[in-house]
């Protein structure tokens, strides 16, 4: 047989063998499809695998001073797939694991745990929740060192399911501004409005569905790592927020009111420093934040007399009036067409100046003036609303902003009485935040700032988004008009409806408001009281609005109900804010002139101390290139001396904080025991003495 024929023959033999072997493949397919088909199809329906989302860690919400307003903390639920661990390891570890579990959860005996896991293992149950209690991260870390658990997800079968919980260190503080988000991604406040930043990007992992609709993660790691959400930095100040909330709650409780809101805004920037909304609980007892009346749709209502500021602005801008001009208010009633306008004071104010009319909040005077000067062309008056930027919503950072509503002259709903009523804050709708912005603009010399709740969004030290102060209207009125309006607002507190909040320490400027409420289409004897203003009036730093709805009791006017809250909050802010407070400032100056009592810094890292001294403008020079230093000197003068810790002797750690002392001593191989708090005042081994390795040194802190 020649070579070629032999080769060809062999190839053919091999080919036939291969082809025959290949026939096994369609045969096996047929077996799986027809003979075992039902079994597998049933399994397909029963066992289900799915790529499910692994939620990303939600970003934090911070106050402007860096305090945490909302954060997410990971908790874990501990389960086990008891069928995974190998027999030998199982036998060796189950007893001690059960003991650990029992000691940790303290709800069942070790034997009960052992039996539970044993049974599940025998039943081939792939998923057993060991305890419903959710554990913290530290505990989870600890558990990973327990027997069986230490072999991990694939070797030991332990499953730590992460459950994230939203945690608010300040509890209900500003809870409506911080907001919430429910599972349908619906919510309110910053949590909702900034959800796109906060939520991050969910990861994905393969899950297996088990009986009872439980989803068990198949593997330890996610297929796509979740990307954590960004942090949101708000403008809120926790101290001011706390003050505002406390004052508002007290007044609401005292007056048994329905709800109330406070907004504190920084004049120059439009930063919202505090925003509180409290509403009587459904149970009738107590108040809590359940709707943001300050911003939200439902909070949009007839502003009442606070709106007279705009009427005055329009009148002054048109150069129609002088403040000292007299106006006849008569007996406190004036008829416009078929309706009568009344003043709050029975019998009326008689003939008064326009300034007095504003200070006393005379409805008759303001409406008469507006009707007199704009009656023939109401659109001219309405144009001022647009000019100050109140005709349109602000597009606030918070979702659900109420839309300002004003009738249009000439429209079906526009009556002959519309203009006079609009001029005193009726027949229109505004949110407290809109009204506040107008007052803020007056305080700010005419520049209308957009209210800002969030100044930045980012992660760690990098901001991905910063929100700068935004101007809505550069100048809402001439400087002269603004000046006049400022005087008017100061007058309200000096002589007018808010005399009760006059105080000798600083000046408040503002306007009271009392709007009658409409119930079933009729004005009834319940009121919406407000006070909007700013302080200190001579160099405004904060503007604020307080609204209280449906207060009960005798004096239910803005001056009586809302203005005191304004004052209480303003007082506290004033006391807290050193920049504002000349009394405190003088004390500081005095202390500075007396010559400084130098800070009690006795020892530490040279570089760090140098930094502190520079910050405090203290002349003290650390010896160059020395790591650890000591300070000597009295309260007038500081000297830094080298603390030689490099030498192979017991170092001198007196005056050091524990952290530094531990670092130095343990680097020398010493064992450290300590007592007390503060800085080291005593050490048991004499500085400079011979170093014995592993010796113990006792420190007394004080």
């Amino acid at each position: 047989m020649n070579i070629k024929r032999s080769i060809v023959l062999r190839v053919r033999v091999v080919f036939i063998l291969v082809a025959l072997a290949a026939c096994a493949i369609p045969y096996k397919i047929a077996v799986v499809q027809f003979k075992e088909g039902e079994k597998w199809i049933a399994k397909a329906e029963q066992v289900n695998f799915q790529y499910r989302e692994v939620p990303a860690t939600r970003g934090n919400i911070y106050a402007s001073d860096g305090s945490l307003l909302a954060t997410s903390l990971p908790f874990y639920r501990v389960a086990i797939d008891p069928t995974i661990v190998k027999e030998s390891k199982y036998k060796a570890g189950i007893d001690s694991l059960s003991r650990f579990l029992s000691a940790f959860y303290k709800d069942k005996s070790a034997t009960a745990y052992k039996r539970m896991i044993n049974d599940a293992r025998l039943d081939k149950k792939r998923y057993l929740i060991l305890n419903r209690k959710q554990i913290g991260y530290q505990d989870m870390q600890k558990m990973t060192s327990w027997p069986i658990f230490r072999d991990g997800r694939l070797g030991g079968g332990v499953i730590f399911e992460k459950v994230e919980k939203r945690y608010r260190p300040f509890n209900s503080l500003a809870s409506r501004t911080v907001g919430f988000l429910n599972e349908d991604e619906y919510g309110a406040g910053i949590e909702y409005s900034f959800n796109n930043y906060l939520k991050g990007k969910d990861g994905k992992a393969l899950f297996q569905r088990l009986a009872g609709g439980v989803w068990k993660p198949m593997f330890d790691a996610e297929d796509i790592k979740p990307e954590n959400g960004y942090d949101v930095y708000t403008t809120l100040d926790v101290n001011i927020q706390d003050v505002a909330e406390t004052a508002l709650r007290r007044q609401l409780t005292d007056r048994d009111a329905a709800f109330g809101s406070v907004i504190v805004m920084e004049v120059k920037t439009g930063h919202i420093k505090a925003m509180s909304n409290l509403q009587r609980n459904k149970s009738g007892v107590g108040y809590s934040e359940s709707y943001n009346y300050a911003v939200g749709d439902i909070g949009s209502t007839e502003p009442g007399s606070t709106f007279k500021l705009l009427s005055m602005l329009a009148l002054l801008e048109e150069n129609k009036i002088r403040l000292e001009e007299k106006i006849e208010t008569g007996n406190g009633a004036h008829r416009f067409y078929n309706q009568t306008m009344y003043d709050a004071k029975n019998g009326g104010y008689g003939t008064i100046t326009i300034r007095e009319a504003f200070e006393k909040s005379s409805n008759v005077a303001i409406s008469k003036l507006v009707d007199m000067h704009f009656g023939s062309s109401p659109s001219k008056f309405m144009a001022y609303i647009d000019k100050v930027g109140l005709a349109e919503p602000f597009n606030l950072q918070l979702a659900g902003e109420g839309k300002p509503f004003f009738k249009k002259p000439g429209s079906k709903t526009w009556y002959g009485t519309s203009l006079p009523w609009i001029s005193i804050g009726y027949e229109s709708k505004l949110n407290p935040i809109h009204t506040l912005s107008l007052y803020n603009a007056v305080a700010n010399g005419g520049t209308m700032m957009k209210p800002i709740f969030v100044q930045g969004v980012g992660q760690g030290n990098t901001l991905v988004e910063t929100y700068k102060p935004e101007i809505i209207r550069k100048q809402i009125a001439s400087e002269r008009t603004i000046k006049a309006l400022q005087e008017l607002l100061e007058g309200v507190v000096l002589r007018g409806t808010a005399k009760n909040i006059l105080n000798p320490n600083y000046k408040i400027a503002g306007k009271t408001g009392t709007a009658q409420k409409i119930v079933n289409g009729r004005y009834v004897e319940t009121y919406y009281t407000s006070f909007a203003g700013y302080f200190p009036a001579d160099r405004p730093k904060y503007s604020m609005i307080v609204v209280i709805d449906s207060p009960k009791g005798f004096a239910a006017y803005g001056g009586d109900v809302s203005a005191p809250v304004f004052k209480e909050i303003a007082d506290r802010i004033y006391a807290l804010d050193m920049e504002l407070n000349p009394i405190n400032q003088s004390k500081i100056l005095q202390a500075e002139n007396q010559g400084p009592a130098l800070p009690f810094i006795k020892a530490g890292k040279g570089e760090e101390l140098q930094g502190i001294f520079e910050e405090l403008h203290i002349q003290a020079k650390a010896p160059a290139a020395e790591e650890w230093v000591k300070t000597t000197g009295d309260s007038q003068k500081l000297n830094l001396a080298i603390n030689e810790t490099d030498k192979p002797v017991v170092p001198d750690v007196s005056g050091m904080p524990l952290r530094d002392a531990l670092f130095i001593l343990e680097n020398k191989g010493l064992k450290v025991n300590y007592n007390g708090k503060g800085r080291v005042i005593e050490q048991s081994l004499t500085p400079g003495s011979q170093l014995t390795p592993n010796a113990t040194i006792n420190l007394v802190l004080g």
Binding site: R12, A21, I25, P26, K28, Q33, K43, Y51
Partner: protein
């Protein structure tokens, strides 16, 4: 029309049926991989399914181009290249074992520095070993029964390469060894020598199992396979999912793109692509694919019959068998006839650079099938050939 035919005749030489099968499978591959990567795309590319479609299509066409280039080259040149690349692959394999990128706990990948493309040196080693084996066998046909002059050098090459591959990738090594045995059998090596190879192979395997990276995986997979024979609960996850795919596919399948098991079956685009094919195209589709591979093998075998030279015949037969046997093993694993190996289905799986090596192998087969590269001399020295047939 005649122009087209003339153009095709001029530029596409060799067995037209092999061309047809390869092109058919390549296009089918794009279709199935597109469907099977749905989940992968969702997982890693943010749902951009086209990313994998384009990448895979590009590689498929690249491999077809490489095949075309390879078939232009006179096959005799491959004897020299094969040997060169075989020697080159030895340091590459060692280097990869220690420094390669680690995927699935085995170092199998090496990144080419300049173009930054990862590839598996074992692909190169496999291809060059088979081609070199064909050359060695052809050269020694006259004294094929000689133990020291013929058998020893041959078995040394096979042993070294298989052992090195086996360190990181047991399945590939065993399959390669089996393929080499077949080629040696075809190449008239005495059966008693082959028995010796089997023994050495078993020994090498044992060493690799204990010393290599994947020894434990290897045994656990075989163990799982045997245990699952009698106990359904021991069936590995992948196998179970594969059975579900096959069973729910039925005779005609769920239709292109309708696979559900791609979501739960690991590597539905490579190791278990055959299950997805059966799920989407049914028993009929599965059988058709199997038939195409056997047809490819048959045409590869026909070349042996038509070839005048031992080298050409052995080269063609060796490469065809290597390719088709791997395909059969992959299919057998998918349907549950063997333990899980992790071998891709050549021509169909999404496999990146290994597609290019498959293209090269097919190009070489086509080059042999052209017939016009034949030469009178018996099993010529590789160096001489490369000088002579520049113009062919």
């Amino acid at each position: 029309m005649n122009h087209l035919k003339a153009w095709i005749d001029e530029h596409f030489k060799g067995d037209p049926i092999i061309w047809a099968i390869v092109i058919l499978l390549s296009l089918f591959s794009i279709l199935v991989v597109y469907s099977a990567t749905g989940t992968l795309a969702y997982k890693t590319a943010g749902g951009n399914t086209e990313l994998y479609l384009f990448r895979h299509s590009f590689l498929v066409f690249l491999s077809l181009f490489v095949m075309w280039l390879a078939h232009k080259m006179p096959y005799r040149k491959y004897a020299l290249y094969a040997r060169l690349f075989m020697y080159l692959s030895i340091p590459l394999l060692i280097f990869t074992y220690f420094f390669g990128s680690n995927i699935n706990e085995a170092n199998r990948w090496l990144t080419i520095p300049v173009i930054n493309q990862a590839f598996q040196p074992s692909d190169l080693a496999k291809l060059s070993l088979i081609a070199a084996l064909a050359a060695m066998l052809a050269k020694r046909q006259k004294n094929i029964k000689d133990f020291t002059g013929t058998f020893l050098p041959i078995i040394l090459s096979i042993g070294v390469i298989c052992a090195l591959i086996g360190m990181a990738n047991m399945s590939t090594a065993i399959l390669l060894l089996m393929t080499c045995l077949l080629i040696m059998f075809i190449g008239r090596v005495p059966v008693k020598h082959l028995a010796l190879v089997v023994m050495i192979g078993v020994m090498g395997l044992t060493v690799a199992v204990f010393a290599g990276q994947r020894g434990e995986t290897f045994w656990s997979r075989i163990e799982a396979f045997w245990e699952s024979k009698d106990d359904d609960s021991k069936i590995p996850f992948q196998a179970e999912q594969s059975y579900i795919a096959i069973a729910t596919g039925g005779i005609t399948g769920k239709g292109p793109g309708n696979s559900e098991q791609r979501n739960s079956l690991p590597h539905p685009y490579s190791d278990f692509i055959y299950s997805i094919i059966i799920e989407e195209y049914g028993l009929v589709g599965g059988a058709t694919v199997l038939f195409l591979y056997l047809a490819l093998l048959y045409r590869g075998m026909r070349i042996v019959v038509n070839s005048n030279k031992a080298f050409g015949g052995l080269l063609s037969a060796g490469l065809s068998f290597a390719l088709v046997i791997q395909a059969l093993v992959n299919m057998a694993v998918a349907v549950g006839l063997g333990p899980i190996t992790g071998l891709p289905l050549p021509l169909l799986s999404m496999g990146g650079t290994s597609l290019v090596f498959t293209g090269t192998a097919l190009g070489i087969i086509l080059s042999v099938s052209r017939g016009d590269h034949q030469d009178e001399a018996t099993a010529p020295e590789p160096s001489r050939v490369s000088n002579r047939l520049r113009t062919a």
